[in-house]
């Protein structure tokens, strides 16, 4: 287990380095960063001054090393637009996005796991068809359109829920649904497939033959085993949702990381953009690492191969 954990950790660190390189290269994507900072009216002298001042005249490897060591100590640079430390801005916005992501995940799991279980218990019946239809429809719904439909009916026509902001927990209902539904098809399909496989296994037949009550068989024996892959999928999807929250946060005007990302992209505020991409990517790497570890812990077969 320890060897496996170390190997996976090594890969995770290498992936983080690769991602940081890509994130770093964003500066040079638009051309000369000094020219971009100086603005259109700048003279050649101004540009040279800025290039020296911010160290853009140094070799790329040195710049990258400098940027990375600073990022590792929590220093993501300075936002020229907001005139504030990037780390400060990001950590003030991060909790909202985390809450939104967690609510969306809870919504997705409470909808998809029971649905998947019920569908697997009664395969090829009306309820199974309904669950599969829901999955197919869910995968095809554009998230921003779904969010606008929610706003229209629940916010404008029926006036049940607030349509923007983060003041009360009511504000989080619609964004969580809009963000979370996107994850439901995958989780539901996996739960259903897992349950179908487990329910056909020998130990379930044994449990039934012993005369255990059906709920005990279903929850204690079957669901526990079927849900193992769902846990790691949920971790991975949580990472995807944080990245995807940019659309939802923009629509519902939620002052989180996604909205910040959109604002900084509009303003061309590179240090903030880079920091958000790097943080989300690292967060995803950590999540998948933890999911792998959990899986290896629960299923010894994974550790060996």
């Amino acid at each position: 287990m320890l060897i496996y954990a170390c190997k996976r950790l090594g890969v995770a660190v290498l992936v983080a380095v690769a991602v940081s390189l890509l994130t770093f290269s964003l500066i040079y994507l638009s051309g000369d960063p000094a020219m971009a900072l100086a603005g259109e009216a700048a003279t050649q002298q101004d540009i040279e001054y800025i290039r020296k001042f911010y160290g853009y005249d140094r070799p790329l490897a040195v710049q990258y090393a400098d940027w990375l060591t600073k990022a590792l100590t929590g220093n993501f640079g300075y936002s020229h637009y907001l005139r504030q430390d990037v780390a400060e801005i990001i950590f003030s916005r991060l909790p909202v996005t985390m809450i939104l992501g967690a609510c969306a995940l809870v919504f997705a799991l409470t909808l998809s796991i029971p649905l998947g279980v019920v569908a697997a218990m009664r395969p090829n019946t009306m309820i199974d068809r309904f669950a599969l239809t829901l999955a197919v429809v869910g995968q095809a719904l554009p998230s921003f359109w779904f969010a606008l439909i929610l706003i229209f009916w629940f916010g404008i026509v029926w006036r049940l829920l607030p349509i923007s902001g983060t003041e009360t927990w009511l504000n989080f209902i619609m964004p969580s649904v809009a963000l979370g539904y996107y994850v439901t098809p995958a989780v539901m399909r996996l739960t259903r497939a897992g349950m179908l496989e487990v329910l056909a296994s020998d130990y379930i037949r044994t449990a039934r033959a012993k005369g255990l009550r059906p709920p005990v068989v279903l929850f204690k024996h079957a669901l526990r085993n079927a849900v193992i892959p769902v846990v790691s999928l949920a971790a991975v999807q949580f990472g995807f949702m944080l990245g995807g929250s940019i659309v939802i946060e923009t629509i519902f005007a939620i002052n989180g990381l996604g909205y910040l990302a959109w604002e900084s992209i509009q303003r061309g505020d590179l240090p903030v953009m880079q920091a958000i991409v790097l943080i989300l990517a690292c967060f995803y790497i950590v999540l998948t690492y933890l999911a792998d570890m959990l899986n290896a812990f629960l299923d010894p077969r994974i550790r060996v191969t």
Partner: protein, 313 residues
């Protein structure tokens, strides 16, 4: 020479085989495939709707009643014909938007943009993903490790965010949006092609080709590719739908297709401001997008079910 009784026995066995009614009635594989295709409602509906949208996109100049870019503020926000309004009329069946542009014509031309971006981004990502997936699956070992590493790195990047950032930094033309999407969404191609290649490469006909002295390139092109083609088609449809949804999201956020071009995502964004009184401005393009993506997904699921029925769900 075989003893006569053996020949007789063989003859009897042979005639029994011929007389086996069950075998005679067993339909040919092609007939079976045909039955599966026509028995699959999802596949038929999906391909039907997709075909319709493709035809609409191809015939846009002849089908669109007006110029999709022609603005006239004197006729702005005419509601669609099913609205109980004096302004609704058959000249503009789906009404007009906030700039007085015919909504039906914009919808028809919007199909071109969605399909173009979907197909082009899918081709780019398909070439990248298939190449590295086949390499990883066929060569294994160090190549496989390297490819796995690249796939993991790519998966860690948040797609929407990176696409938005890159488009905003490089500039947003249609081709830049297509290239950025194509360069970002090859991961599923690589994963699926890698695992199907691993399955196929250990089969006997690959070993036979190797024994015959075929080159690696030839084995990959003529032995492996045709046998992973059905998986490839399924992923291709999924990724095309993915690309279309991403383009719509990018355009919705203002960094994809630029106004006044009629992208469905952009139309939803433009209609958002009028949502309170004219919700159809958001409803119509969103529904078109939903129908297109649903049709593509249904077709992909159908192809998977028909070509490999045992792998359903």
């Amino acid at each position: 020479m075989a003893p006569p009784q053996d020949i007789a026995a063989e003859a009897v066995a042979g005639s029994r085989a011929v007389l086996n009614v069950g075998e005679i009635l067993e339909p040919a594989p092609a007939e079976l495939l045909r039955r599966r295709i026509f028995g699959h409602a999802g596949l038929l509906i999906g391909s039907g709707v997709l075909l319709l949208i493709v035809m609409v996109a191809l015939l846009a100049p002849w089908l669109a009643p007006h110029d999709p870019l022609d603005q006239d503020l004197t006729r702005k926000l005419i509601p669609p014909i099913w609205h109980d309004s004096a302004k609704a009329n058959w000249v503009y069946p789906l009404g007009t938007d906030g700039f007085g542009r015919d909504y039906l014509s914009r919808l028809i031309y919007g199909a071109r943009i969605s399909l173009l971006i979907g197909v082009a981004a899918m081709c780019i990502s398909g070439i990248i993903g298939t190449t590295i997936g086949v390499a990883a699956g066929y060569f294994g070992g160090k190549v496989d490790m390297m490819v796995n590493f690249i796939i993991t790195s790519r998966l860690s990047l948040p797609v929407v965010l990176v696409a938005l950032a890159v488009v905003s930094l490089v500039g947003n033309s249609l081709w830049i949006v297509i290239s950025v999407l194509g360069l970002l969404i090859w991961d599923r191609f690589a994963v699926v092609v890698r695992s199907s290649t691993q399955q196929v490469r250990n089969l006997d006909y690959v070993a036979a080709a190797q024994a015959l002295g075929c080159s690696k390139a030839r084995i990959i092109m003529t032995e492996i590719m045709p046998n992973i083609a059905n998986n490839l088609i399924v992923v291709a449809t999924l990724e095309m739908a993915h690309a279309i949804l991403l383009e719509a999201a990018l355009s919705f956020l203002g960094l994809g297709v630029q106004p006044p071009q009629p992208s469905w995502g952009l139309m939803v964004a433009e209609g958002k401001g009028y949502m309170f009184f004219d919700p159809w401005l958001v409803g119509i393009p969103g529904a078109a997008l939903f129908a297109l993506v649903l049709a593509i997904n249904l077709m992909g699921d159908g192809v998977r079910d028909v070509t490999a029925p045992e792998r359903r769900n």
